[in-house]
């Protein structure tokens, strides 16, 4: 019983973290066809900003739980500003170019951001651990889990639903889907595609930064943070299907459960299992689990 609980609970906790990291990445690709390597930088900006805000907030002695929205805002605002800077400063000149060009350009942005982060925050580690133990722990089947992690699962579900609802149930979401389906026809119908791209990129960057803020309480915020997560985020979105929010969610759950099972049953393959899941999915569905069918153009 404890084994089953361990695999399911830890799998879902890890999946939540993976999804929050990957959601912005897949949103940006789905709308803009930009495989955004700089997403790792937005994650890192969020983590650093949240850790800085936490350091200030928890020194005031104000109620601990109010630190969470402070950290979230402190992460999202600079994350979105950085996203807007990348989109307006670089990407808008390259819309319609090949995807590999976008990969190279955003990889360049990632490297620039890495240096900028060191210039701003230095090479030392930052901590925002106060919220992590704030909500205590819960025992399930004799195993202790941290309640902050359950909070992250719940918050991730809210983010997933909000994204789905925004895209599928709002007017702006329908405009977005029209752009996803055919950018040129959308422009011909008067949709301001450039503005939608800007909003999408800013929201995607904000989601990346929010993921960094959510992770910050459980880690040491150090240089290189963004580079480490981007590989995992790619594994999730490729498994789920590039551009699919539902795919990212299912991909994250698959990988999270598989990893938790490996750690508990066959720890030797822990390193390998994430990519084994991705490879297994791609063997049967080369475009990922939820890849949208693309129209053939003549």
């Amino acid at each position: 019983m404890d084994l089953l609980v361990a695999i399911i609970v830890d799998g879902l906790i890890y999946a939540s973290w993976l999804f929050t990291v990957a959601a912005g990445l897949t949103l940006i690709f789905g709308v803009m066809r930009v495989l955004n390597m700089a997403h790792g930088s937005f994650y890192a900006i969020g983590a650093y900003s949240a850790a800085t805000a936490a350091g200030w907030y928890y020194a005031t002695g104000w109620p601990g739980y109010l630190g969470l929205p402070v950290m979230a805002l402190a992460a999202i605002i600079p994350g979105m500003i950085a996203g807007i800077a990348v989109e307006r400063g670089v990407l808008r000149f390259l819309h319609g170019r090949e995807e590999v060009v976008m990969v190279l350009v955003t990889f360049g942005a990632l490297l620039i951001f890495e240096d900028l982060l060191i210039m701003i925050w230095g090479a030392q580690s930052y901590y925002a651990f106060q919220p992590y133990g704030l909500f205590g722990s819960t025992s399930l089947a004799g195993l202790r889990f941290v309640n902050y992690d359950f909070l992250v699962i719940g918050f991730t579900a809210v983010i997933a639903f909000a994204l789905w609802w925004s895209i599928n149930r709002t007017r702006r979401g329908k405009l977005l889907k029209a752009v996803i389906h055919d950018r040129e026809v959308s422009m011909a119908f008067g949709i301001n595609v450039n503005r939608l791209f800007l909003v999408t990129f800013a929201v995607g960057a904000g989601l990346g930064a929010l993921a960094g803020a959510m992770s910050a309480p459980a880690i040491a915020v150090t240089p290189g943070l963004g580079i480490e997560v981007i590989v995992l985020a790619f594994a999730v979105v490729v498994t789920g299907g590039l551009g699919s929010i539902e795919g990212a969610l299912i991909g994250a759950i698959l990988i999270g459960i598989a990893r938790a099972a490996a750690v508990n049953l066959v720890p030797e393959v822990e390193l390998f299992v994430i990519y084994a899941v991705m490879a297994a999915v791609l063997v049967f569905r080369p475009r990922g689990l939820f890849a949208a069918a693309s129209a053939r153009r003549i």
């Binding site: 973290w17 890495e114 901590y127 992590y132 205590g136 040491a220 150090t222 240089p223 290189g224 750690v263």
Partner: protein, 428 residues
């Protein structure tokens, strides 16, 4: 030889200052150019690279100012002004090493936190006949796989801290038999775990491994691992995690109380103790890969180092700062010794020959290059246990293991020595 060198080093510093005036115009009057390579970017830069560089910078300034405390005196390396070029190990360490040697034309290279860097650079150093001092990497392969003439290491190799950890457990927890391990899945983690289990089995034949976990380097998320370790319910939990990975592991384990239920052995725990001591439960065993940082012993030189470091950088020096300093001081001691013998500022080769088997003073205490034909340091290695004293986390039950107790003597590889039951070890 060592005794002679120890005496000579003590007097050499004084004579070295004279060397400047004795020397005539020659190549040896030129600055002594050193390249210092460590991680200046990426995840290793914060916990290891930045403090290492700070330690080197502080010592370099003191060497040129002539403000090092006794037994050092005189300016420069045997009278030659010291210049340092800092290089980022994160970007193609071997290529950058070649750049330092061929383009920058440095006289010596100090550096390298990664064992991978050291293993690849050691043969290059020999081939290019470049004096190279490894200051931090731990791989035993550097000197066990080949004889070196141009390569030195100024701190212990990785096996020593795991042997000492086993001794500490044997003394303070003789009835703890089941051990679990969580170590990063690369050479450092694998070698550390292997040596710890082997040494523990020698000292306590009832040692039994309950679970061993191998997360990816810089993984950062350890929820599943913590649950697995809790399910194993071992007496001892060993980890050679370092830097951000260790911090994340401790932060995530604290609310779960894992290290309250199991005795944690953190072989590189000194950096985490310096930054997040409040998150480390009582009873956790802390190592510093030697005798530096939080476990450094009081001495006039250590007092000077700590105070100068805090004044210059505004923070306590963690153990990587000590080992960076330790490497540069080896060069200073050897340079001064060579100058006193030559009667003039020394050439690089004279410094290299003086380094062999040298014994010198550092903020960590006496460092002796007494292993592997005088190229590998053997130093004391300390462990302590976290205990709240008046609510403040403090290190108590500190044990300092002498090289004679925990460092394999010449003639053995470390693995052979452990498996043979530490023949010749003197642990009183």
């Amino acid at each position: 030889m060592n005794k002679f060198k120890t005496i000579a080093v003590s007097s050499a510093s004084l004579l070295a200052a004279c060397g400047i005036s004795l020397g005539t115009a020659s190549a040896s009057d030129e600055p002594f150019a050193v390249g210092f390579a460590t991680f200046l970017s990426g995840p290793v830069s914060g916990p290891v690279g930045a403090p290492s560089r700070n330690g080197v910078e502080l010592i370099a300034e003191a060497i040129n100012d002539g403000s090092l405390p006794a037994p050092y005196s005189g300016q420069g390396i045997g009278g030659r002004e010291l210049t340092i070029q800092y290089v980022d190990e994160a970007s193609e360490a071997l290529d950058e090493y070649r750049n330092l040697v061929t383009r920058s034309g440095v006289d010596a290279v100090i550096g390298y936190a990664s064992s991978g860097s050291c293993v690849s650079i050691a043969p290059e150093a020999e081939a290019s006949e470049t004096l190279t001092l490894f200051y931090y990497c731990g791989s035993t392969r550097i000197f066990e796989e080949d004889t070196r003439e141009y390569v030195f290491r100024t701190m212990n190799s990785q096996d020593v801290e795991n042997i000492a950890a086993a001794h500490y457990l044997a003394e303070f927890h003789p009835d703890a038999n089941t051990v679990a391990g969580i170590n990063q899945n690369y050479g450092w983690g694998q070698d550390s775990w292997r040596d710890f289990v082997s040494a523990s089995t020698q000292l306590n034949p009832d040692t039994e491994v309950s679970v061993e976990l191998w997360p990816q380097l810089f993984s950062g998320q350890y929820g599943s691992e913590l649950t697995r370790l809790a399910r194993a319910g071992s007496d001892i939990l060993h980890t050679s995690f370092w830097g951000g990975d260790l911090d994340a592991f401790l932060l995530q384990s604290a609310p779960r109380g894992l290290l309250e239920d199991q005795i944690g052995v953190l072989t590189t725990g000194g950096t985490a103790y310096a930054s997040i001591a409040d998150q480390i439960p009582d009873g956790t065993i802390i190592g510093v890969r030697g005798n530096g940082g939080a476990l450094s012993a009081d001495s006039p030189m250590n007092d000077w180092f700590r105070e100068s470091y805090i004044e210059k950088f505004g923070e306590e020096p963690t153990f990587p700062a000590y080992y960076g300093a330790q490497a540069l001081l080896a060069l200073k001691a050897a340079g001064d010794l060579a100058a006193s013998e030559a009667g003039e500022p020394p050439s690089v080769d004279q410094v290299r020959l003086s380094l062999k088997g040298i014994e010198y003073e550092a903020p960590t205490g006496t460092v002796s290059l007494s292993r592997h034909n005088g190229h590998q340091a053997a130093t004391e290695l300390a462990y302590g246990r976290v205990q709240r004293v008046d609510g403040t986390p403090t290190l108590v039950d500190i044990r300092r293991y002498s090289p004679e107790c925990v460092v394999a003597p010449d003639g053995f590889t470390s693995r052979e020595w452990i498996e043979a039951g530490f023949p010749g070890a003197q642990c009183n």
